[in-house]
């Protein structure tokens, strides 16, 4: 049994944690949250230099070739500090989509730019209310141009490339890669619950685009991309949830009420024990997801969906009970609790909400039962 990260990857984790403690403090997060910039460009470029962005990309495409387990480790550390960079959108979604669906030529021309942090990509699947579904591919692709409206799009204000869900002239669902630097793109930054990761509405009017994967496969490809992203996002989530539990525990040890630390009261102890339980369940499910992602296992869909359901539940619980444990200070702008509360919701929604993924768990169970 070897169900844990290797020593090498644990070393990578330690390095990442030390680096982020200096370079991704809550001050850095707040400068994005408060609208000074759409993301922390200096941090982003340093991440590229250290090979983090291309961690899971093959070396022939400019990556570091560490594999997806390495990317999971980094995702967890970025989640711990609610890093204000387009990691989820550009690396977990767009680059992953190119690795899944792109031709060799597309990988060769695009991935090095992602690994170097020169491209920022995103995945534009949402068309307003609702979870991922086959019916929501209503953007139109014809003659190398795409038109349609997509919102919310994570980092849609900064991205220069977007993987867009669309249909072709014969109504077949497909993925296309749209060049957002070209004319015909109108971007509106949306007001959201977590401005530390900005979202936009994209109106595309005959924007140049190329097909990614086979036309007709769009829905299946989207699901594969989202499954893979679900594992990576689960690591961001468990990182954030772990940090929330640490913050709440530290506060409960130091804050006194009625003559003793509030952490000595069972109401607080049992609450935080429940957070610990949810976090450990989520961590274990995420590890299984990492294994399935790294090995491209047949169980990936079930593993990814379970990791996502667990991690979403754990982060929500940990972030709200962190505020609750902090009492009045917890809901001030000055305390960091809200950075996590916001991010837990963003990550819990960005690739489809819990009900969508719960349904996916059961669908996968039914499939494996029938087999």
């Amino acid at each position: 049994m070897n169900f844990d990260f290797s020593d090498d990857l644990n070393q990578l984790r330690d390095q990442a944690r030390r680096f982020l403690a200096e370079n991704a403090t809550s001050k850095h997060v707040r400068s994005v949250l408060e609208g000074e910039k759409p993301y922390d460009g200096a941090l982003w470029l340093k991440m590229a230099e250290m090979g983090w962005l291309g961690a899971a990309m093959p070396e022939e495409f400019g990556g570091a070739g560490i594999g997806h387990e390495g990317l999971c480790v980094l995702a967890e550390e970025l989640g711990r500090v609610v890093a204000p960079v387009p990691f989820t959108s550009s690396i977990c979604l767009a680059a992953e989509a190119i690795m899944v669906a792109g031709s060799t030529a597309q990988k060769r021309s695009l991935l090095p730019g992602f690994a170097a942090g020169m491209h920022i990509g995103t995945l534009a699947w949402a068309e307003g209310m609702g979870n991922p579904r086959e019916a929501a591919f209503s953007a139109r692709f014809a003659n190398g141009k795409i038109s349609g409206e997509k919102w919310p799009v994570l980092d849609g204000g900064s991205a220069d490339l977007a993987v867009v869900t669309a249909q072709d002239e014969s109504g077949r669902p497909l993925l296309v890669l749209a060049d957002l630097r070209a004319g015909g793109v109108t971007r509106t930054i949306l007001e959201t619950v977590d401005p530390s990761r900005p979202q936009a509405k994209l109106v595309l009017d005959n924007v140049p685009a190329e097909v990614l994967g086979a036309p007709g496969d769009g829905w299946a490809l989207l699901q594969t991309v989202l499954d893979r992203a679900a594992v990576l996002v689960a690591f961001e989530q468990i990182g954030g949830a772990a940090r929330c539990l640490e913050m709440a525990t530290e506060y409960a040890q130091e804050r006194y009420a009625f003559g003793r630390p509030i952490g000595g009261y069972q109401a607080i102890k049992h609450k935080l024990a429940d957070v610990y339980i949810a976090n450990e369940l989520a961590r274990s499910n995420a590890y299984y997801g990492a294994w399935a992602l790294q090995t491209d296992a047949a169980e990936l869909t079930l593993a990814a969906a379970s990791a996502r359901v667990s991690a979403t539940e754990a982060y929500h619980l940990a972030s709200k009970e962190n505020i609750q444990t902090h009492g009045g200070m917890g809901f001030t702008w000055a305390a960091d609790c809200h950075l996590y509360y916001r991010r837990s919701k963003l990550l819990g929604l960005a690739i489809g909400s819990a009900s969508h993924w719960k349904n996916r768990v059961v669908a996968a169970l039914e499939t494996s039962n029938a087999a």
């Binding site: 339980i277 379970s306 539940e313 719960k358 349904n359 059961v362």
Partner: protein, 410 residues
């Protein structure tokens, strides 16, 4: 990451598999056994026979010293054996307390002559041991126990009552913690012994549980004489010895109690809910997904613990969540299964109720699981204090002589 055995582990697993295949019946081929009625004499005989076979094949004391017939292997090999054994319908539970808690305590405190006398028969399954800690006045607060031990010449005389003793009525020996001095604070006045359960003055009465079954006993002690030579540890050091016993609780092997989420899936696939298959109902699907994630989360948490053991490291505290998650999950799944059946969920007739009334049995059995072996509340305290390092509860009885501590009507 992978789920592979090391070379030694794989060889051991193959040996365990071969032994089980040759000597036991697969659960899937065995007649389903209802969750224990009162354990009968022939079942004890069957359990003793099985333990003897395990001993002969070297699977009884996998981590124990070779001089006692063990293999001196690391705990991961124990887990591997348990994993393999789980698929088989073999007698369980009769020897776990004796070999998991009582004999390890003896090994720490008994004389060489005593060990020579007791260890072999226990491991071979010839003698069964029980543990006498809990009392009516000492459940979660076990050190509040009141059973008296008074010195009389070369003997001690024990009077009082123990409760929740598994299998006391078929056990040969027991370990017991008693109050030898009520004039000092509660932890300081305890003394520990082992005794012959057939001694004069020991009386066992089964406790009938909600489920109608009886796993536990009350044990009454009336002027029971125990030689001082059977004292384990110093007079007044009983609490320290008790901790040794409790530290030896085995790594939970992770048997998932049934009905589990796969039983619920089976049920939802067969039942109709408002004119459509229950499995098509979104709220049913959400529930199944949530329990699936919890079940898998525990399974992979156990794998993390096994990984540490396999690497020769001390496991982290993560496996401490297992029982508290499992017990509530069982209760909730059982209750939800009955809900899906509608009014018929009340019916427990195994001819009529789905899966031979597994869900109804689970409903009545599960409240006990949330209490036995550490209540949900105590387990959360343990996580909070030992894992999260939150302050211990205030104990108003800590410094007071035991006979001056307030006690309630129950």
């Amino acid at each position: 990451m992978d789920f592979d055995d090391t070379k030694e582990e794989a060889a051991f697993r193959a040996e365990a598999r071969a032994f089980l295949a040759a000597n036991a019946q697969l659960k899937s081929e065995a007649k389903p056994v209802s969750r224990g009625r009162h354990i009968r004499a022939e079942e004890i005989a069957r359990a003793k026979e099985w333990q003897g076979k395990k001993y002969a094949a070297g699977f009884a004391g996998i981590t124990w010293p070779k001089r006692w017939g063990g293999r001196e292997l690391s705990p991961i090999f124990n887990v591997i054996y348990q994993q393999e054994e789980e698929a088989y319908a073999v007698p369980r539970g009769v020897f776990e307390i004796g070999l998991g808690m009582c004999i390890p305590t003896m090994m720490a405190y008994a004389t060489p002559e005593q060990l020579e006398r007791y260890v072999g028969p226990a491991l071979r399954g010839e003698e069964i041991w029980c543990q006498l800690f809990s009392e009516p006045a000492g459940g979660s607060d076990v050190a509040a126990l009141r059973t008296r031990a008074e010195r009389d010449g070369q003997d001690w005389v024990i009077n009082g009552q123990k409760i929740w003793t598994s299998g006391a009525h078929y056990c040969d020996f027991g370990i017991i913690v008693t109050r030898s001095d009520p004039n000092v604070p509660k932890h300081a006045g305890l003394t520990f012994f082992f005794l012959d359960m057939h001694s004069k003055g020991v009386e066992c009465r089964p406790i009938k549980q909600i489920s109608g079954t009886s796993h536990f006993n009350e044990v009454f002690f009336t002027d029971v004489r125990v030689p001082d030579a059977q004292r384990l540890g110093a007079v007044g050091a009983g609490w320290k010895v008790s901790i040794t016993t409790l530290m030896n609780e085995r790594l939970a092997v992770g048997e998932v109690p049934r009905p589990d989420v796969s039983d619920l899936l089976t049920l939802a696939e067969t039942l109709d809910l408002d004119g459509a298959p229950a499995i098509a109902n979104p709220s049913v699907r959400e529930k199944i997904a949530e329990w699936h994630c919890r079940t898998q989360g525990l399974k992979f948490t156990r794998f993390r613990t096994m990984t540490a053991l396999s690497r020769g490291q001390t496991p982290g505290p993560e496996n401490s969540i297992a029982k508290v998650v499992n017990a509530s999950k069982l209760q909730d799944i059982a209750s939800y299964g009955l809900d899906l059946m509608g009014a018929a969920g009340m019916v427990m007739d195994p001819e009529l109720a789905p899966l031979h009334a597994l869900f109804q049995e689970g409903l009545l059995f599960s409240p006990g699981l949330r209490i036995a072996g550490g209540t949900d509340e105590i387990l959360r305290n343990i996580i909070a204090e030992r894992v999260l390092n939150l302050p211990a509860d205030i104990r108003v009885d800590k410094e007071k002589p035991f006979n001056q501590v307030a006690h309630g009507k129950r």
